[in-house]
């Protein structure tokens, strides 16, 4: 038997050398402005469905706000929030509104980067079509990430508008909440795209929502202050992305500055960078071969 036909050396040769089978999926992202036409594509589709989707996006969070904020708020009364100016008493509706807007941004980004991105990637094969043109997979993932973040900001903006109209907060610092919510959208899009890359069907996303996002909703200080949590749980929840989002946004609603300073911002940025990298590598693996 000729040496090249022997199974063991051949298999070894196949694994040897970084060039065989292409580059590592974990190499640095190769991003360019070619992501823009992909983003525009999603925008054009959405423009056709914007009004009905907007109603769906903001109706549910507003129902929560009205039911819990006014209903439960009447029972709860005031809630104490730590700020740079020390403990401040705020009405429950303000407490809840400033937390739930983060939750809405999270949900909007997650839905878009899971169900909608999966439809485009797997069901419609839109990504395959795009990759036959001079657009890299890296740019498509970037476009999907930014698109989901855009939808999060859009939803948050609409809800913010209603909150302003209801007179829940008129803090001028709300202008700063806007870029923070963009970052929240970006962070959760990146995390969701990891699960998108791993999904075999839509069912998979139910796990992500029920096992990850829903518990986080209750542990991140949206409905009640985290001071109510056992100390150990509270320490763990310090590092959740949604906790960081709430810690940044809530003081801005109260016309205060975030008491934790740079830490929550840094936590969100670390989640964003690490999750994007993992999502990209897993997506590259999915499309390889």
């Amino acid at each position: 038997m000729a040496p090249r036909d022997e199974p063991v050396p051949a298999a070894m040769a196949r694994q040897g050398g970084p060039q065989r089978g292409g580059l590592s999926a974990w190499r640095a992202p190769q991003l360019s402005l070619r992501f823009w036409p992909v983003f525009l594509r999603n925008l054009l589709v959405w423009r056709k469905l914007a009004i009905p989707s907007l109603v769906g996006n903001i109706a549910e969070p507003l129902m929560w706000l009205v039911a819990f904020g006014y209903g439960l708020g009447a029972l709860v009364g005031q809630v104490t929030v730590q700020t740079t100016a020390g403990p401040v008493q705020v009405p429950y509706i303000l407490f809840l509104a400033s937390g739930s807007i983060c939750m809405s941004a999270m949900n909007a980004a997650s839905f878009e980067a899971l169900y909608s991105a999966f439809s485009r990637m797997h069901v419609q094969k839109t990504w395959d079509g795009i990759m036959n043109a001079p657009v890299r997979l890296d740019d498509i993932v970037l476009a999907e990430m930014l698109w989901a973040a855009f939808k999060a900001v859009f939803t948050a903006t609409a809800i913010l508008g209603v909150m302003l109209a209801l007179g829940i907060s008129h803090s001028p610092k709300l202008l700063l909440a806007w870029p923070v919510l963009l970052l929240v959208g970006i962070a959760f899009s990146c995390i969701a795209l990891i699960f998108n890359a791993l999904a075999k069907g839509y069912d998979f996303f139910t796990y992500y929502f029920t096992l990850f996002l829903t518990p986080m909703m209750f542990l991140s200080g949206i409905f009640f202050p985290r001071e109510q949590l056992p100390p150990l749980v509270r320490t763990i929840t310090d590092w959740l992305p949604l906790t960081s989002a709430v810690e940044l946004v809530r003081p801005l609603f109260m016309d205060q500055w975030p008491s934790q300073g740079a830490r929550p911002l840094l936590v969100l940025l670390v989640y964003t960078v690490v999750a994007f990298w993992i999502a990209l590598a897993l997506t590259r693996k999915r499309f390889r071969g």
Binding site: V38, M131, N132, P134
Partner: protein, 312 residues
Amino acid sequence: MALLKVEKLVKSFGENTVVDDLSFSIAPGECLGVIGPNGAGKTTTIRMCLGLSAPDEGQIDYMLDDGAVAPLQMPRDAMAIKARLGVVSQIDTLDPDFSCAENLLVYGRYFGLRDAQIRARIPELLQFASLSHKAAARPGELSGGMKRRLSLARALVNDPLLLLLDEPTTGLDPQARHLMWERLQILLQQGKSILLTTHFMDEAERLCSRLLVIDHGRKIAEGTPRALIREHLEPDVVEVYGVGATAWLDAPFKQLAARVEVSGETVFFYTQDAKPLLLVLAERPELRTLHRPANLEDLFLKLTGRQIREDG
């Protein structure tokens, strides 16, 4: 100088070697047909030519500019290469939420073309695809043939030099298929080059100036359709079918043919001269016979065998 030159390509998935030492090239203006059974490695080869799958070994070079000194290499120069290619994949990837015109506009943007540039080309592209009356229709409202033609029009949005078409007529009815062939012939007359994979031998014979027969990832024959038939087959075929046809194998008439093949209840006689055989058959009216010239399908079955490939 070849537009596309593929050399010693190898690709394995685990233990399974899908493309094995495959080399071929396409000259400007040529239509190269790649034919082979399911799982022969056709689609994997196209994916490697597009940089979507990385070869384990081998080289893929493109020469897309007259003045270029060095060829563009896949996957290194993937973006520059794809800017000059047009691709129709096996599965339609049209955007279901867009009209035909919007599909073309959005796809053109992926090539970095300006909206005004693309909009100016859209009527011409729709007309080429015989879809001018469907400009505002969405893909869901189109027939299979219309969708394939829209995919072809979309692949032309960047005015490509070379088209890579993966089974462009699979699943179409004869009318739609003929219209597609007619369009592809127009493109060839305009000087475009085409790499085409197909299961249809009449399609390969009609369109392709040269054929590549591959099986198990390996090239098993290459040449013009006519030359391949001449080289590998006797010119005449007599098919005999009906009750008792296979019993004929034992009959002395077998000597009247150069080669005999049996498939189910049909016997195929391949011969240089069919006359003596037909004379004998005339005395056996219970057997149905068909006398015809040897074609590409005979060649394909001879080279790749008659067994069903359902693992691809």
